[in-house]
């Protein structure tokens, strides 16, 4: 998936921008995300209903995936069923 690609949740309002990714399936609320939103929202998986916060980056434990949430929603992000977690922000001092 090309960096900069915008993915939408099939289940909720969540939208992410891909910063880094590999070959797995990126999911929200348990269902695969796509560039287009399906006509009908699917059902939310209870395991992936923890919400996604705008502006936060979500990563896997291997450092292969990084997604920036550009629209918040009720579903939470995962890859191939494994939940992603919020990236530790080590903010730089403002420089401009």
């Amino acid at each position: 998936m090309k960096p900069g690609t915008r993915l939408k949740s099939a289940i909720c309002d969540t939208e992410v921008m891909v910063i880094k990714s590999a070959d797995g399936t990126i999911e929200c609320g348990g269902a695969p995300m796509g560039e287009a939103k399906p006509a009908e929202a699917g059902a939310m998986s209870a395991d992936h209903a923890n919400g996604t916060l705008m502006g936060k980056r979500y990563v896997d434990s291997d450092g292969k995936y990084e997604l920036l949430c550009v629209k918040p929603g009720k579903g939470s992000l995962s890859v191939d069923g494994v939940a992603l977690s919020v990236k530790d922000a080590k903010p730089l001092p403002a420089s401009d």
């Binding site: 921008m17 705008m54 403002a94």
Partner: protein, 498 residues
């Protein structure tokens, strides 16, 4: 992805929060996004291929930047200080454009170029009043050029440096956390809108959710008053501004600048004396030295607040010296030092600074300056010490080559500046029959001091450096030439000395 994402996310998170204060007017994130969408309509209507700003900073800079982004045309702010002839040439290179600002001047010097010109007020009003018909607008996906900046030319015409959406987003997303600013944070933006720092400041503050407080025209008193008035927490200045601010503050120490927490600086060499005074006058503020270029979307290395204080408080000369360093590379870029043949150099070996990363463009209209592997040669001479701190040793072109020996003007200037009677110094090459080039210096005498004897100055340099560095020609001038960004114009000094 389009840089408009930055404003869209800010507006989603807080449409009613104040984003910008300029000349007493307040704009929310919602206001700015709506105006940017309105500007999109204006740009489409007049078939502009660029959006140009010919004006001081105002809300028009923000509306222009993001309106152009939505429309998929480059935003090209122009330097209004240029002479008519030079400005007309640049306008010609971006015609037809939607030009916002000095209508009278554009009509006079470029009236036949096919531009659509609006005053700042008209542009803002029209943009706000032009509501997009419905939700079905196709905004540009952001795969092209977001910003075009003309870099100051040397002998040839200015180059058109290009920054793509991907470069700018790479920089902002890599260095700023979304909505990380506190509710009451405010950033004073005074850098000209046609300089990369003036553009990145807008994007950083918007993405961080930090209110922008604009000072369209710099004066030290104006700066201090605005800090007090708006409880400014963050500021970016060029070194000459900081010096003048300190002088003004010393004359008006009752000004309440206690809100200041973060002062960043860049764009030129910061004299040790000025940063030392600044650390003393603003003890509650963290200082950050930012090193970057137009071609790298601004900052690629920085020296943060902890490093500044540690250097100031240390007895270790190596740690103290860091106060004059550029700090460490951003985690999202790689920096290397290479010699003239392209070989990578080791710690403390001086060569040319090369950089690579998503935010690095190195692209000009029509060609790229990148070399193999996506590396950009900065034309700045420098070295990295054994702890990873980057130091500048002057532009590669400023090196004096005397009898085959390379010398950096900076080290000669630093020695001369330690003399109590010398307020400013610039060293450059003067022609020499014997050596090819030799060292010439232009000096500014400090007020209330007598001109030192040349022999005394020469001995000072000989003792601290070595005999090859001793200036052959010494001239005293009233002041050294700087541009409005505080950059020393060495080429001009060379002419004065010769």
């Amino acid at each position: 992805m389009n840089i408009s994402l930055l404003l869209e996310m800010a507006a989603e998170a807080g449409a009613d929060r104040i984003a910008l204060v300029c000349d007493g007017k307040r704009w929310t994130y919602g206001d700015l996004l709506a105006a940017a969408r309105g500007a999109f309509e204006l740009i489409q209507e007049c078939n502009a291929e660029y959006v140009a700003l010919l004006d001081e900073s105002s809300e028009a800079a923000v509306i222009g930047l993001f309106g152009a982004a939505l429309a998929g045309v480059p935003y090209c702010p122009l330097n209004y200080r240029l002479a008519d002839e030079d400005l007309a040439a640049l306008l010609g290179r971006i015609a037809p454009a939607l030009v916002v600002g000095d209508e009278e001047r554009v009509a006079r010097i470029a009236g036949d170029q096919g531009h659509t010109v609006l005053s700042r007020e008209d542009f803002a009003l029209k943009a706000q009043g032009t509501v997009p018909a419905d939700d079905s607008r196709e905004y540009d996906p952001g795969e092209g050029v977001a910003v075009q900046l003309f870099t100051s030319g040397t002998t040839a015409a200015p180059k058109a440096a290009i920054l793509r959406h991907s470069n700018l987003l790479g920089y902002i997303l890599g260095s700023v956390e979304f909505a990380s600013a506190g509710e009451s944070d405010a950033a004073l933006v005074v850098v000209p809108p046609y300089h990369i720092a003036g553009i990145s400041a807008l994007m950083s503050s918007i993405y961080a959710g930090r209110r922008i407080v604009m000072l369209p025209s710099f004066s030290p008193k104006g700066w201090l008053n605005l800090v007090e008035q708006e409880a400014v927490t963050n500021a970016f200045v060029v070194p000459t501004m900081l010096g003048r601010i300190i002088d003004a503050f010393d004359k008006a120490p009752e000004t309440n600048v206690s809100s200041l927490r973060a002062i960043a600086y860049g764009g030129g060499k910061m004299p040790l004396e000025v940063i030392t005074k600044a650390l003393d006058r603003f003890p509650g503020a963290g200082f950050t030295n930012a090193y970057g270029l137009t071609e790298t979307s601004s900052t690629i290395a920085l020296l943060g607040p902890e490093d500044h204080r540690a250097a100031l408080e240390s007895d270790n000369p190596k740690v103290r010296a860091r106060l004059t360093s550029l700090g460490q590379p951003l985690p999202t870029v790689e920096i290397e030092i290479r010699d003239e043949d392209g070989n990578i150099l080791g710690p403390n070996e001086a060569g040319e600074i090369y950089v690579r990363g998503d935010q690095v463009s190195g692209e000009y209209k029509g060609k790229s300056a990148l070399v193999e592997g996506g590396w950009f040669p900065t034309r700045d001479a420098g070295f990295i010490d054994e702890d990873g701190y980057l130091f500048l040793s002057g532009r590669a072109d400023d090196v004096i080559v005397r009898g085959g020996e390379n010398m950096s003007p900076g080290e000669i200037e630093d020695v001369l500046l330690t003399h109590p009677a010398i307020a400013d110094a610039c060293a450059c090459a003067v022609p020499s029959v014997e050596w090819g080039e030799a060292v010439g210096v232009a000096l500014v005498l400090r007020e209330d001091h007598a001109i030192p004897r040349e022999a005394e100055l020469r001995e000072l340099v000989r003792a601290r450096l070595r005999s090859s560095r001793v200036p052959e020609k010494i001239v005293f001038v009233k002041e050294l030439p700087y541009n409005e960004m505080g950059k020393l114009l060495r080429r001009e000094v060379k002419k004065i000395i010769s």
